[in-house]
């Protein structure tokens, strides 16, 4: 697959925020924007975007997936073609894999003229967030003020479709957080899109295995690059009143020192059993308040 290399870092990018972040986790979108803007990148948000169509595609409904794919390309491609943006950044490995890998074969099979070529052109400049920060912007230092222990879960599509793994790990290492390794970090959490509902018992069993790995690592937070897997993992943790929690990497990296100010345990004062980031009942809204209070 052709990937564009940039002579100088792109100054203007389009945010493909993904429907789940848009509707359920706006704070992840905000963190993504802020991380990019802190690097001097101008972010535009194409408001026509909806869902990339992966749920339909993965379930075998190609006709429906094509509808969504063409809509997506109609929203993003003109910006690229007119030179309004230089790249597309997405805070998700899964949606990134859909638009970057699967669109091409989907649209080729569907035989819709011009769309495969557009998909290819867009794919060449589409980057997952951590990949963009590390490989394109060459970010060296992104200090994070989170005091607890963090481990990293490699989401499957990011790892095995986009082959992005070094980048998020590097960002976490450089951020200064207390990073601990987790056994089975590359093993699927069991989300799998519709799989999580169609095959709930297997999905749950896989998720519980993942929770054991997280617990075994001693981490307070398991960071990952997809809110979909995060919803599954955190959903299980929340139901089980686990003291760990799952977090999107953008949100974690965007927590700057000084912003975390409460009675949470710090690495020097080890855990009393209380979750390190406030155990809000509305767990997806955690710390948005803090961010905005500054």
């Amino acid at each position: 697959m052709h990937r564009k290399t940039f002579a100088s870092p792109p100054s203007k990018v389009a945010l493909f925020v993904t429907c789940m972040v848009d509707m359920m986790y706006p704070q992840v979108g905000i963190a993504t924007v802020e991380l990019l803007e802190r690097q001097g990148v101008e972010v535009v948000f194409p408001e026509g975007q909806t869902c990339c169509g992966q749920p339909a595609f993965n379930a075998g409904y190609h006709e429906e997936a094509v509808q969504m794919a063409t809509h997506f390309l109609d929203v993003f491609c003109p910006l690229l073609e007119k030179g309004d943006i230089e790249a597309v950044v997405v805070p998700s490995g899964s949606c990134g894999a859909m638009t970057r890998h699967f669109y091409l074969s989907l649209l080729q099979d569907a035989g819709i003229r011009s769309y495969p070529a557009r998909a290819e052109a867009l794919a060449a400049v589409t980057f997952e967030l951590t990949e963009f920060l590390v490989d394109v912007l060459k970010v060296q230092d992104l200090p994070c003020g989170y005091p607890g222990k963090v481990t990293y879960h490699a989401c499957c599509h990011l790892l095995r479709e986009l082959r992005v793994d070094r980048q998020p790990r590097q960002l976490l290492r450089q951020s200064g957080v207390n990073l601990v390794e987790m056994e089975g970090s590359a093993e699927c959490c069991g989300f799998g899109g519709l799989f999580s509902v169609k095959n709930e018992p297997i999905s749950t069993a896989m998720g519980k295995a993942k929770l054991q790995y997280v617990a075994g690592s001693g981490a307070d937070v398991v960071a990952m690059c997809d809110v979909s897997c995060m919803t599954h993992v955190q959903g299980l943790m929340h139901r089980q009143q686990s003291r760990q929690r799952a977090m999107h990497i953008a949100e974690l990296l965007n927590l700057r020192s000084g912003e975390v100010h409460d009675t949470r345990p710090t690495p020097s004062a080890p855990s009393s059993g209380a979750p390190p980031v406030g155990f809000s009942r509305r767990w997806q809204d955690i710390k948005v308040e803090d961010d905005h209070a500054r």
Binding site: C19, T50, E63, G192, P201, G235, W283, Q284, D285
Partner: protein, 477 residues
């Protein structure tokens, strides 16, 4: 309670995930196999070996008819006989006829997935021929009247305690937790069977077209005994098992030994060209090869040819997180794991009969990374799903739901409206249970059986973005 492979998919899965030890036993075994495999690939240029194996197998697939003809001719020149079977019935008939003609009473078998696939034992037993499985694992499975749960390690789902109990019941052996003692017992029982068998039957790990050689790979030596002691030796092989040359055979042998069990070499590689030569003092007097199609040519025609490059090493099973939870029996078919989820529906007369299998995967891709031939298993699963949808095998409601979803997502306005409705609905639901959704209506109730769900955000990202565009700062929520 063991998983009842005859039950429907849902029941099998339920039995598997509620078994207190199954996932743990399977996980431990598969992780250890994966680690050994990775070490074996790390000590050489692993990626090159995988590339070369793939190129060789791709060549085989492209030239399969010619290679089959060449192989047939060479086996005949070596003094063996070749039989072609288009389906399981034909294969069983060929072997049963042979057994009847030669007055065969007892058959000893080496591990063979192809004969499992056609349920050969049942057919032979129906005509009064006793079949004895001689691979230690297969023997245990046969005593327990179960099905193998793994392509390479058939009793991977059983603990030593299970096996000890089985041997106590069936073989009158005092209880012991020493695998070596259990193994010695099996040796003495099975040795008698080898010496008294009238026919040996094995599968085939690969066969060399150039020389007409059938190769079987074992660690126990039962493959050698089966192909040496009885007067008649029959090898049953899928038509995709060919390799062009002797060198290619050793290439595949490397890939197989390293991927299947993390060995550089297995203890035995037994290469049979034909029956014993006139002056030989041992070896079978007759050598038969049954070439089994049973849906494979059709698989190629329907675009699933890549699955025919499988060398049956089981690495994809060992890498699969779904397999770890439901074990081979959860799949309910001869072939389990990711490769089983692909080929079981294709080997069946109607793929819709096992339509759950292609969906029993998160498409995580661990199988493709583990495969020594780099078969795109997630891609094949996706293709099967597409096929099932196009054949209208999936529930009408699902189709309607996704149709509506696509319609909504195709227009920004309807997407935003739907989002608003979902926000209102989900926030009502969450208020009922303290801010987090603990119960969702069908079909999403499957989610909330074990997982909580956050409501949609009060203000979506796009609303907050618009707010910032207007005011210069994010909305305070």
């Amino acid at each position: 309670m063991p998983v009842d492979v005859g039950a429907d998919f849902k029941t099998r899965v339920k039995q598997a995930v509620t078994d207190p030890h199954l996932a743990e036993t399977v996980t431990r075994a598969t992780i250890s196999l994966t680690l050994k495999k990775d070490q074996r690939y790390a000590e050489l240029q692993g990626q090159r070996l995988r590339d070369e194996t793939r190129q060789m197998k791709t060549y085989v697939l492209r030239h399969l008819p010619q290679l089959l003809e060449q192989f047939e001719q060479n086996v005949q020149m070596n003094g063996g006989q070749v039989h072609w079977a288009q389906d399981a019935d034909e294969a069983n008939r060929i072997i049963c006829n042979l057994a009847t003609q030669k007055d065969v009473r007892k058959v000893v078998k080496a591990k063979s997935m192809a004969t499992e696939e056609i349920h050969l034992n049942q057919h032979l037993e129906a005509i009064g021929v006793e079949c004895v499985e001689t691979d230690l694992g297969e023997y245990i499975i046969q005593l327990a009247r179960e099905m193998p749960s793994h392509i390479v390690a058939p009793v991977l789902h059983k603990s030593v305690d299970d096996i000890s109990q089985l041997f106590a019941e069936k073989l009158d052996m005092p209880r012991t937790l020493d695998p070596q003692a259990l193994c010695a017992k099996a040796r003495s029982v099975l040795r008698r069977e080898f010496l008294n068998a009238d026919m040996g039957i094995s599968g085939c790990n690969f066969a060399i077209a150039d020389t007409g050689t059938v190769c079987i790979v074992t660690n126990e030596g039962n493959g050698r005994l089966v192909s040496t002691l009885p007067p008649i030796y029959v090898a049953v092989m899928g038509i995709e098992k060919l390799v062009p040359t002797v060198q290619d055979a050793f290439l595949q042998y490397q890939a197989l030994a390293r991927s299947a069990t993390g060995q550089k070499v297995t203890v035995y590689l037994s290469m049979t060209n034909g029956p014993k030569q006139p002056e030989d003092v041992d070896g079978p007097r007759e050598f038969h090869v049954v070439l089994l199609d049973n849906g494979r040519a059709q698989m190629l025609a329907e675009g699933y040819g890549e699955a025919l490059m499988c060398i049956r090493c089981g690495a994809c099973l060992n890498a699969c997180p779904v397999y770890k939870q439901i074990s081979g029996h959860g799949y309910g078919h001869t072939y389990s794991g990711p490769i089983g989820a692909v080929i079981s529906p294709l080997l069946a007369r109607d793929m819709a009969e096992s339509k759950e299998l292609p969906y029993a995967s998160t498409l995580c891709g661990a199988c493709r990374d583990a495969c020594p031939v780099q078969i795109d298993l997630p891609g094949l699963l996706l293709a099967l799903r597409q096929d099932l949808v196009e054949r209208k095998a999936m529930p009408r409601l699902e189709k309607a739901g996704l149709r509506q979803y696509a319609d909504i997502m195709q227009k920004t306005g309807s997407y935003v409206r739907m989002g608003g409705m979902a926000r209102a609905g989900s926030r009502t639901l969450s208020r009922m249970s303290g801010g987090t959704i603990r119960m969702l209506p069908p079909p999403l109730h499957h989610w909330t059986k074990t997982r909580d769900m956050p409501p949609f955000a009060r203000r979506s990202f796009r609303q907050q973005w618009a707010h910032r565009n207007r005011t210069g700062e994010w909305e305070k929520t």
